[in-house]
């Protein structure tokens, strides 16, 4: 193993690490705001990559129909709830139609645009538009009713959602894998290192997203409301912040980050309907570095996971998953000695 191989492995690891960092941030965000351990985070990665793949083929992706069904279910549930509270029927219907307007628009555009095989960037934006609303809808249908349940119950719900979304992925995308075209085919070489345009895009988009999230949390009222909810749900509610709204927003961000990550790694690896799960779990390993609470520690953890994975696959490629997931044990051990009892009362 010489310096050039080390360089290549480092670059490879850092590239994957950047994507894991995005996922880890989403996982920390969702946990902080809603106490949901969001196991299905990775499914959005697969949905993003594969929705784009089907658009590339000029086909209408099944995720659109999922959007339709979930939006209808949510609208019906909301309508029933409002009607029970005694809201006049006309208002109930108007509210339901309003909530369906955006999904209907997305579906309409997709049905029109899919056969046209529009440019890659347009299709990518369409993919984000299709997958992002799935986040809040999943929150509404699976979690909102249980928002005050224990972390344990929410975790089991997450596993159920993961099962359902993975199975649906098989229905939508079939069992075969897809590899998306690169956003930027250029290659740059510096010595033995060769840097592809896609790698540069991954780094740039990751950094841009992290900066955007930072600004969102530091500078905007909604971002601050999310942080307040993360610190104390009851207190936030007393200040007039809707915790349900915070839940929707954080799940929307999580779905957006997931889909975006899917777009970023789609050209680098062949994606199957169930590939997202392992990718998401690596985000989890990273997030655990920060105790599911610290954003910077999660991001650093993600780079570490990426490097471990790339060096692991060089030395013992068959065991790279074993290495990545076993590292969670020493990390947990280190955390338990660092923090000892941070036991919560439930």
């Amino acid at each position: 193993m010489d310096a050039s191989i080390v360089g290549i492995l480092m670059l490879d690891g850092a590239t994957n690490g950047a994507v894991y960092a995005l996922l880890a941030l989403a996982i920390v965000l969702v946990f902080a705001v809603t106490r949901v351990i969001f196991i299905p985070q990775g499914e959005f990665v697969a949905y993003g990559a594969l929705t784009l793949a089907l658009l590339q083929l000029g086909r209408v992706p099944g995720t659109v129909w999922l959007l339709v069904v979930l939006a209808l279910l949510a609208a019906v549930l909301d309508a029933v709830q409002r009607a029970r509270r005694g809201v006049p029927l006309a208002q109930v219907i108007v509210a339901a139609l309003k909530s369906l307007a955006i999904p209907a628009l997305i579906v309409g555009v997709t049905l029109w645009a899919a056969p046209l095989k529009l440019p890659l960037v347009v299709q990518s934006l369409l993919t984000l538009a299709i997958v992002t609303p799935l986040g809040p809808l999943v929150y509404r249908l699976a979690y909102e009713k249980l928002a005050d349940a224990t972390v344990l119950v929410l975790l089991i719900v997450s596993v159920g959602v993961h099962f359902a979304l993975t199975g649906l992925g098989l229905v939508f995308f079939g069992a075969e894998g897809f590899r998306n075209p690169s956003f930027w085919d250029a290659r740059f070489s510096a010595g033995a290192l060769s840097l592809s345009g896609q790698t540069i895009i991954i780094f740039l988009v990751s950094i841009a997203l992290i900066v955007a999230l930072y600004l969102f949390f530091e500078r905007t009222l909604r971002g601050k409301a999310l942080r307040a909810t993360a610190v104390n749900r009851l207190g936030a509610r007393l200040m007039g912040i809707s915790t349900s709204g915070a839940g929707h927003l954080s799940f929307g961000l999580a779905a957006f980050i997931g889909a975006l990550s899917g777009l970023l790694i789609g050209p680098a690896t062949t994606m199957f309907y169930d590939s997202g799960f392992l990718i998401g779990l690596k985000g989890f390993v990273a997030a655990i570095f920060g105790g599911l609470a610290s954003y910077p520690a999660a991001a650093l953890g993600a780079i570490f996971v990426g490097l471990l994975e790339s060096f692991g696959s060089f030395w013992a490629s068959a065991f790279k998953e074993v290495i990545v997931f076993t590292v969670i044990i020493p990390v947990l051990l280190w955390r338990s000695f660092q923090h000892g009892h941070d036991d919560e009362e439930e």
Binding site: L152, I156, V157, G167, A318, L332, S336, D343
Partner: protein, 591 residues
């Protein structure tokens, strides 16, 4: 027929039905299904113990099944070791893996264990699939059938008996465990560790034991699986199966031992049907049942969190505990310190939360046979002082001595062991247990029987003594009529009284009561005051935080008043009531 007899007959009828099943012309398909249900029930039982009882969970049970199965397969196929030996080796390997996982994660909050089990489930799957000696993803073939006293168990029908005997034994042993000293400790852990630790339960060890026990059940299931299938490969031990096991437990009823059997049956039959119908519907084959399972799991948690068995249970008549403790020997009790000796000596304790000084160098003493009242406005630091004395919070500075021995810095259960017992400002109890069992938890440190004797039912003599003590304390506090009531059904006042009975069950030297009279009616308060006077005359020391001034002033020997974390004044009730500083603290000053 009494409900108890009815239940017993139903259980016997079920066992007889099981015993007859392989003899009847039942199609082979159903025998195979029943065998799988038995294998899955063993695993689901462990999850009931973990998730429903102890409030932990694991997605990695399938990996423990795999560990048991691969140990059996590898040792019998490669080295020809007897299966009756491999089962013990498998249990040993599993226990070791479970201990490491539990030891690493269970010191931290509850969600790290399930996350670690996900990683563990994945790791083991890839590990099994990549080791040459284990046949990689093809696995191991040609595992011999089990031989039981010369009979080869090589058919579904012959295997059925061994398997279901083990399943029934495990189910009954777990039922026994839940009704024992160890079982009560396990349930106490679910609601958080503070109360359980205050009762003297080593919550960390209890959780670890529960996790290891669940893993061992899975390991036995794996051993049986290997000799039933006669071949192993990694796929039935992957994470998806781990999630399906949890699904079984949740659907059946994660809080009930029999829920494991019901859940395993329901899921196995449903899965079989779905695997027939869904591919027809979709036109291709694939794991489409995942979608149904996932959605069902979410719906069960949203609408029927207690699972199928809870529906059955709520329709069965409730069985009261048999009163079999009347002539049980009394528990040994602690010698009382001579009247007037200093029992508790709090010397300049201080607690800072960041920049906030919650308790500011407070000192006081409690003597044997004395009731000391600790009063002060809301936020004065009374409950924090309590928590410093009982070891729930570590003091920033200062000393706490009990009978001359330093107790600051000790964990709460060690302080409890030395004779300090307490109640809580917000009642902490196990709502699903009877009043009697809740109170018996207080006597945890006066018994010593653990998991093994509970599983084997060797703990009955001690159990009778514990129940006798619990009932005696309940009668003393005036709750003798409601010992069989579920604690969660009591009103707030009686719940507080129950907490006092529980604290008394520990046979304490020092009793700490945090607002015991809140929520009590006038008559109940008088009754409480009488009990406390009686306890004092028996030489008990009591530290009382209370807002009802009539009660405090009429009862206590001395009062310590706190304000803003600082001791304002100490003296007899008369002195304190006359003090202008106390009036100012409560009512404000005139300007």
């Amino acid at each position: 027929m009494s409900p108890r007899a009815l239940r017993r007959y139903v259980l016997i009828a079920f066992a007889v039905l099981l015993a007859l099943m392989p003899q009847l012309p039942v199609p082979e398909f159903w025998i195979t299904q029943a065998n799988y249900i038995g294998l899955y029930t063993l695993v689901a039982l462990g999850l009931v113990l973990l998730t429903g009882v102890a409030g932990l969970t694991s997605f990695g049970q399938a990996a423990f099944v795999g560990l048991g199965a691969y140990t059996a397969a590898y040792l019998t196929v490669t080295y020809g070791v007897s299966p009756w030996l491999t089962v013990w080796i498998g249990l040993g390997v599993t226990a070791l893996a479970a201990l490491v996982l539990a030891w690493v994660t269970l010191r931290m909050s509850g969600h790290y264990l399930p996350l670690a089990t996900i990683a563990w489930g994945l790791s083991l799957y890839y590990l099994l699939g990549n080791i040459d000696a284990l046949g990689k993803y093809d696995g191991l073939l040609g595992i011999p059938a089990l031989k039981f006293f010369g009979i080869e168990l090589n058919t579904g029908r012959s295997y059925f008996y061994l398997l279901w005997t083990l399943v029934l034994c495990a189910t009954i042993a777990l039922t026994h465990l839940l009704d024992s000293r160890a079982g009560r400790a396990l349930r106490a852990v679910k609601g958080g560790t503070t109360m359980a630790e205050a009762m003297g339960v080593n919550t960390f060890r209890t959780k670890v034991t529960a996790f290891v026990l669940a893993a061992l059940l899975a390991s036995v299931s794996g051993w049986l699986f290997a000799h039933f299938q006669r071949t192993v490969n990694p796929s039935p031990f992957g994470l998806n199966m781990g999630i399906e096991y949890l699904f079984m437990a949740v659907v059946g009823g994660v809080g009930h031992v029999w829920g494991a059997l019901v859940g395993a049956s329901a899921v196995q039959i449903l899965k079989d049907q779905l695997q027939v119908w869904l591919p027809k519907l979709m036109g291709t084959s694939g794991n489409y049942e995942m979608i149904v399972f996932g959605i069902l799991l979410v719906l069960v948690l949203q609408y029927a969190r207690d699972g199928i068995w809870a529906f059955v249970e709520s329709r069965l008549p409730r069985v009261h505990r048999k009163v079999d403790w009347v002539d049980a020997p009394a528990l040994a009790s602690r010698p009382r310190p001579p009247h007037g000796e200093v029992v508790l000596d709090v010397n300049a304790v201080r607690k800072e939360f960041g920049g906030l000084v919650a308790v500011n160098d407070v000192s006081f003493q409690v003597k044997a046979g004395e009731i000391l009242g600790l009063i002060g406005p809301n936020g004065a630091g009374k409950s924090t002082t309590f928590n410093l004395v009982t070891g729930v919070l570590p003091a920033t500075r200062g000393e706490v001595r009990l009978m001359g021995q330093r107790i600051d810095g000790l964990p709460s259960r060690e302080i409890a062991r030395r004779g300090v017992s307490r109640t809580f400002q917000h009642v902490k109890m196990i709502a699903g247990m009877t009043v009697l069992e809740n109170v018996a938890l207080g006597a945890h440190l006066r018994g010593h029987r653990g998991f093994p004797s509970a599983l084997l039912r060797l703990d009955r003599a001690e159990e009778r003594s514990l129940m006798r003590e619990a009932e005696a304390q309940l009668v003393r506090i005036g709750m003798g009529a409601s010992i069989h009531e579920l604690a969660g059904n009591l009103a707030l006042g009686p719940q507080r009284l129950m907490e006092i009975a529980r604290a008394l069950c520990a046979d304490p030297t020092l009793l700490l009561l945090d607002e015991p009279a809140a929520g009590l009616r006038h008559k109940e308060k008088q009754g409480l005051a009488d009990v406390l006077r009686q306890l004092r005359s028996e030489g008990l020391s009591i530290l009382l935080v209370e807002h009802d001034m009539d009660l405090v002033m009429g009862l206590v020997d001395r009062v310590v008043v706190m304000e803003f974390g600082t001791k304002l004044i100490e003296g007899t009730p008369d002195v304190v009531q006359a003090s202008p500083a106390v009036r100012a603290a409560y009512l404000g000053t005139e300007h």
